[in-house]
Structure formats: structure tokens, C-alpha cells
């Protein structure tokens, strides 16, 4: 047992982080917030070129030939960067929908009673008759509501959990950075125990979510995936909230990025049937 990132996995993680830093920096993020509903096709294609969608396709089929653990690392980075778009649906459609693997075709899918990016996508998987547009709480994710309900795809749940993990890690960093530099009462607020303890809890939730997500990516077991989603939702949602608290009044502004992380975390927490479905799945496993 070597439950650690291999050197290749570390290199992959660092490479994706660099790519996203370059292709989707804070300026790009803010530009996207200013142009709601518009999907950046050039960005999508460069993700395709980098192998984001074809990662798990076998090499003979033009894929990268890697597995679920590597996909989890990729989606963690996407979560960190707050990358917009139906990333999970397109990734899962690679090899099944022509053009998805290369990023030429943007694919979205009905998930429960919701569809993200319905109008911007080229291909929509699932029944969308009667779809009604919502005024999405996340300025970076357009949403429609559909009448029926589609059961959750465990792989989509896992990749979403990986995105939540990325958010959790990012908001922990943001909180710690702010606590180190912001001064009140003549010293950094990070010297105050009340602030220190908020930050410590941010880290603890992130680290337990990390091991749950990585383990689920290794085993691909349904109960492990359900556990990963519960821990990752908690780490992202509560983490973003605590990060906002550490930022004080500034945290409540549109200018600070904290609210974007929180809103995306809320949205992801609603995917795949929500936490209730995962709790019931784990309960059923317990009683089996």
C-alpha cells in the first residue's frame, strides 16, 4: 500500500495547475463573471488539447490512457481554479459523443432535475422537454430546471466531489493568506485563536475529504464514492463559508472571490441527487 501521489501524478497535478493559471487566471475569471452564459470555446479547445476530456480514453482511441485517480486530480484542479462549463458531462461523454474528447463539442447532461449550460452546449444528454430557465445563484453556471428526474451517475458524483475538494483546498489557502496579512488590534488576525481555529477546521475538513476522494477514485466503489461526496460537500460548503467569515466585511463583497467559491460549492452539492441520496446509499450498505 502506497496511498500517496506517485511522481507522475504529482507532475500531472503541477502541469494542470500551471495550464489553468495561464489559461484561466483571475482576470479571465472576472471576465467570465462579467459575461454570464458565454462559454469560452477557445479555452474549451485548449482543455481538449491538454487531454482534459480524453484523459481516460485508451491511447489507441486517441486518449491519454490514464485512470480515475488521475481524473480526480484534474477535476480537483478545475475546482481550485473555479473553471466554468459542463466539464464533468463532457469528460464522461468523451469516446461516446463525437468531438467531446477533443473539446470541439461541448456536452451537457440532465442531472436530477437540473441541467447546466443547456443553451451553450452542442449536445445535451437526457430529456429536456419543458426545461425552464432559472436565475442561477452561481453567476458562472447557467441553470435550467426540467420536469422529470434522472438518476445519478456515480462517476459524475465522484468527479464533482473532486471539484469540491479543489474548492475546499483553495478557500483554506485564501483564509490562511488573509489571516497572515490582515492586521487588527496592531497584529495579524491570524494570531487570534478564534481565527486560528476557524483555519484549523478548514484544513481538517479538507484533508479528510482529500483522502476520501482519492480512495474513492482508486476503488471506484459506490459506498466510497458516496462517502467522498459527503465529506467533500462539507469541506467545500462549510469551508467557503468560514473563509468568508475570516475575510470579514470584505468577504461579503462582489469584488472578493469568496462568494463565487461558495455559490459553486452550493451548486455542486445539489448534483447527483444531493447528499440525501449518498446518505441513503451508505445506510443501505450498512444494513446489507
Amino acid at each position: 500500500m502506497r496511498f500517496q501521489l506517485s511522481e507522475d501524478q504529482q507532475a500531472l497535478q503541477a502541469g494542470v495547475r500551471r495550464l489553468l493559471d495561464r489559461r484561466f487566471d483571475r482576470e479571465a475569471l472576472r471576465a467570465a463573471v462579467g459575461a454570464p452564459g458565454r462559454l469560452d470555446r477557445a479555452l474549451w479547445r485548449s482543455l481538449g488539447e491538454a487531454g482534459f476530456f480524453a484523459l481516460r480514453l485508451p491511447e489507441p482511441d486517441g486518449g491519454v490512457g490514464l485512470g480515475l485517480p488521475e481524473a480526480a486530480l484534474l477535476f480537483e484542479e478545475a475546482g481550485r481554479a473555479l473553471l466554468p462549463g459542463p466539464l464533468v458531462a463532457t469528460h464522461l461523454a468523451a469516446g461516446r459523443v463525437p468531438g467531446a474528447a477533443t473539446g470541439e463539442t461541448v456536452v451537457t447532461a440532465v442531472d436530477g432535475q437540473l441541467v447546466e449550460w443547456l443553451e451553450a452546449a452542442d449536445v445535451v444528454l437526457g430529456e429536456t422537454v419543458g426545461a425552464v430557465a432559472m436565475r442561477s445563484v452561481d453567476p458562472l453556471t447557467p441553470l435550467h430546471r426540467v420536469p422529470g428526474t434522472t438518476p445519478a451517475d456515480p462517476l459524475a458524483v465522484l468527479l464533482t466531489a473532486a471539484e469540491q475538494l479543489g474548492t475546499a483546498a483553495r478557500v483554506c489557502e485564501l483564509a490562511v493568506q488573509h489571516a497572515r496579512t490582515r492586521e487588527q488590534f496592531g497584529r495579524p488576525i491570524g494570531t487570534f485563536q478564534a481565527v486560528q481555529h476557524l483555519c484549523a477546521d478548514l484544513l481538517v475538513r479538507t484533508e479528510i475529504a482529500r483522502t476520501a476522494v482519492y480512495a474513492a477514485a482508486v476503488t471506484a466503489d459506490g459506498a466510497d464514492i458516496a462517502a467522498a461526496r459527503l465529506l467533500a460537500d462539507e469541506a467545500a460548503v462549510r469551508g467557503a463559508r468560514d473563509c468568508l467569515q475570516v475575510h470579514g466585511g470584505m468577504g461579503f463583497t462582489w469584488e472578493a472571490d469568496v462568494h463565487l467559491h461558495l455559490k459553486r460549492a452550493w451548486l455542486r452539492a445539489a448534483r447527483g441527487g444531493g447528499g440525501t441520496q449518498s446518505e441513503e446509499l451508505l445506510a443501505a450498505r450498512l444494513a446489507a
Binding site: M1, Q193, A200, Y214, E279, L282, R285
Partner: protein
């Protein structure tokens, strides 16, 4: 990322499983949680069986992964837990192995492994708990002895212990952390009085220890004089890092028992309770993964557990309390009956966020040492 075991590890698991299936049915019944002399004998007997079968050193010499397999298999089979051997096997022993001289290792380690001697931990004092460096128990040098006076508190299993890992102040004028020394004190030395304290669970598992001019040979000092704080940090990293690992497996077994009990008494139909148990199953699965992660880190990094220990301790101690609160919900009114299963466990779970460093202290450690936030005052 790899969660599979090597052929040699799987082989170890299979042999252990076979051995456990053979010997466990021959064990006598466990003495009551109140009867510490009885438990001492029982726990030492179990340790001796492990020793004779070649499993005694699994806590120290084996690889962290092998230790994990040992804990998993013994718990799964319902084998006795370390009990009275807790301090000797899980932190005093490892500290002596890491910091002691060759003679000290030869004197103290084999009897722990053979199940002959029990250790206790004399760190806390009435005015030095979280602020351990405030300890005042004095030791003055007299020839080849230290002469020790003062008092210790919350000393688990003191009544049945042969040895005590004792922190004393050897230089009252030095800065707080600099004047401390780590000693091995024989519990039968003249001048030691042990007064049992009753816990909220009704049992007498810890005690106050009064020390009146107790002579401890200088040869019993582990590490240099006045270097005891550093040695203490080694002890604490073992205490927080490895000591609770096996209990996660136990909690997962309890959860399955709770699900069974709830289905038998109809509580399972309550979706709120069912979902709560489901969430706890997710929590303990994740704690097990965190354990495997920390073990892999330790294996890569050479033995002494790292800062992952505080992260684990914080999360686990609260999860354990939530588990037994859920148990109370499964039991209904029976949760008020001390004769029912889980009720005593619920009471004892209350100590987990206090013993081995409170949650508040762990959070400060995570903030300052792991996240690097500036030190508070």
C-alpha cells in the same frame, strides 16, 4: 495512489487471521471495566500470547502497513484491545526505543513485549494540563539518584502500573521548556501514594499520584538532563499519531451493529436516523482512508508520526462522540440504562476530546505548526 497490499502483507494477514480463529475461543471472559487488577492480568495474558506466537513486536518493529493489518484483523476478530498495556506499547515503549540507550532498551522493552510489565504516564499535574510546560514536580540530584517531590493527576492505570514515564523539573531557574527531564520511575518506590479518582462513567481508571521524596536512579533518565521537553514531543507524537488507529475499525463494527439493532426495533424506518447512520458510515470510511494515508506518509518518512496526527485526532474524537449519540437514538429510552450496550461507551467517548491534548489545543497546533499562522498569545 495504491490501496493494495503486497503478497507478503496478504500472507501476514492470512496467517494472523488463522491464528486468531484458533486462539480467541480459548480466551476466558473479559473482566468488568471496573476491575483493573483483573484487567491487568487479562491484558498481560493476551500480550504474552501475542509474544509467544511472534506478534508482540508488531507495534514497534513491523512496518506501519503491517501494524495496520494487525489492528484491522485483531479488531475484526474481536480480539482484546491493548487495555492496560496502552502506555507501554503505544507511547512509552516507542519513546524508549527511539531515545533510550542500549541498556535502557534492553531493560524496559522486552518485558513490555512479553506482557510482564505495565506502564503509566505521569505528565499532567493539577496546575499543568494543556499547559504541560508549567509542570512543577521537582527533582533534585542526590548522588546517583534524583529525589522527586510533587503530584501528578489523571494518571491512567496508575494503580496497576510497574513503571511511570514521569516528567519532572530539574532546573527551576531555566525557561519553562528547558528545565524538564523525562524519567522512568518504578511505581513500587517508597514515597509514592496512588489515590484513585472516580470517572464520570463510575469506574476508577485514573488516579492522583503523590510523590514524596521518591528516589529515582539517574540511570533511569531517558535523554539528557533538562532535555525532557524534546523527548516529550516524541512521546506525544506517538500518543496522538498511532494510538487511536485501531479504534476506527472498532467504530465501523459498532455502526453495523447499530444498523442491525435499529432494524430489529423499528427505528430504521425513521429516515432521519437512517441518514444519520449513513453519514456516520461515510465519516468512518473517510477516517479509515485518512489513517491509510497517514500510514503511507509515515512509511515513506521513517517512523515517527507527522502532523497528520493532530488532523486525525481532532476529527476522530468528535466523530466518536457523534457515533455514540446516534447509538442513544437507536436505543431510545434504553440509552439511560447502564446495563445496555453502548451506554458506557457513550460516557467514555466524552474523554476523547480532552485526553491526549484537547481539541482546542489540537486546533492551535494545526493552525501554528501545519498552516504556519503567526503564534498567538
Amino acid at each position: 495512489m495504491d490501496l493494495s497490499y503486497t503478497a507478503a502483507e496478504e500472507d501476514f494477514r492470512a496467517r494472523l487471521r488463522e491464528w486468531l480463529a484458533k486462539v480467541l475461543p480459548t480466551l476466558p471472559d473479559r473482566p468488568s471495566p471496573d476491575d483493573w487488577p483483573g484487567r491487568r492480568a487479562y491484558d498481560l495474558g493476551w500480550q504474552r500470547m501475542l509474544h509467544d506466537a511472534g506478534y508482540a513486536d508488531v507495534h514497534w518493529d513491523a512496518s506501519p502497513t503491517t501494524r495496520l493489518i494487525f489492528l484491522e484483523e485483531t479488531e475484526r476478530a474481536g480480539a482484546p484491545y491493548v487495555g492496560a498495556n496502552f502506555v507501554g506499547l503505544l507511547h512509552a515503549g516507542p519513546t524508549i526505543a527511539a531515545e533510550g540507550t542500549a541498556e535502557q532498551r534492553a531493560r524496559w522493552l522486552p518485558p513490555v513485549l512479553r506482557g510482564e510489565e505495565v506502564w503509566c504516564q505521569g505528565f499532567s499535574e493539577p496546575d499543568a494540563g494543556s499547559d504541560l510546560a508549567a509542570l512543577r514536580t521537582r527533582a533534585r540530584r542526590d548522588g546517583d539518584d534524583y529525589v522527586v517531590s510533587g503530584s501528578k493527576i489523571w494518571t491512567s492505570h496508575a494503580e496497576v502500573a510497574d513503571w511511570c514515564e514521569l516528567l519532572v523539573r530539574t532546573d527551576p531557574d531555566a525557561p519553562r521548556h528547558r528545565g524538564i527531564t523525562w524519567l522512568a520511575m518504578p511505581m513500587d518506590a517508597p514515597g509514592i501514594t496512588v489515590r484513585p479518582l472516580r470517572t464520570l462513567a463510575g469506574s476508577a481508571e485514573f488516579a492522583e499520584v503523590f510523590l514524596d521524596e521518591v528516589r529515582v536512579p539517574v540511570a533511569n533518565r531517558v535523554g539528557a538532563e533538562n532535555d525532557g521537553w524534546r523527548v516529550t514531543m516524541v512521546t506525544l507524537s506517538f500518543e496522538r499519531g498511532t494510538a487511536f488507529v485501531g479504534e476506527v475499525v472498532a467504530c465501523r463494527r459498532v455502526l453495523r451493529e447499530l444498523a442491525r439493532a435499529a432494524r430489529e426495533n423499528g427505528r430504521w424506518d425513521d429516515p432521519v436516523l437512517r441518514r444519520r447512520l449513513g453519514r456516520l458510515e461515510g465519516e468512518f470510511r473517510a477516517l479509515w482512508r485518512l489513517t491509510q494515508w497517514n500510514v503511507s506518509v509515515a512509511e515513506a518518512g521513517g517512523g515517527v508520526p507527522g502532523t497528520g496526527a493532530s488532523v486525525f485526532k481532532l476529527r476522530y474524537s468528535h466523530a466518536r462522540q457523534e457515533l455514540y449519540d446516534a447509538a442513544a437514538d437507536v436505543l431510545g429510552p434504553d440509552c439511560l440504562d447502564l446495563d445496555r450496550p453502548w451506554v458506557l461507551d457513550r460516557l467514555s467517548s466524552l474523554s476523547y476530546t480532552i485526553a491526549a491534548g484537547t481539541s482546542q489545543i489540537q486546533r492551535t497546533i494545526v493552525a501554528e505548526r501545519v498552516l504556519g499562522l503567526p503564534r498567538g498569545r
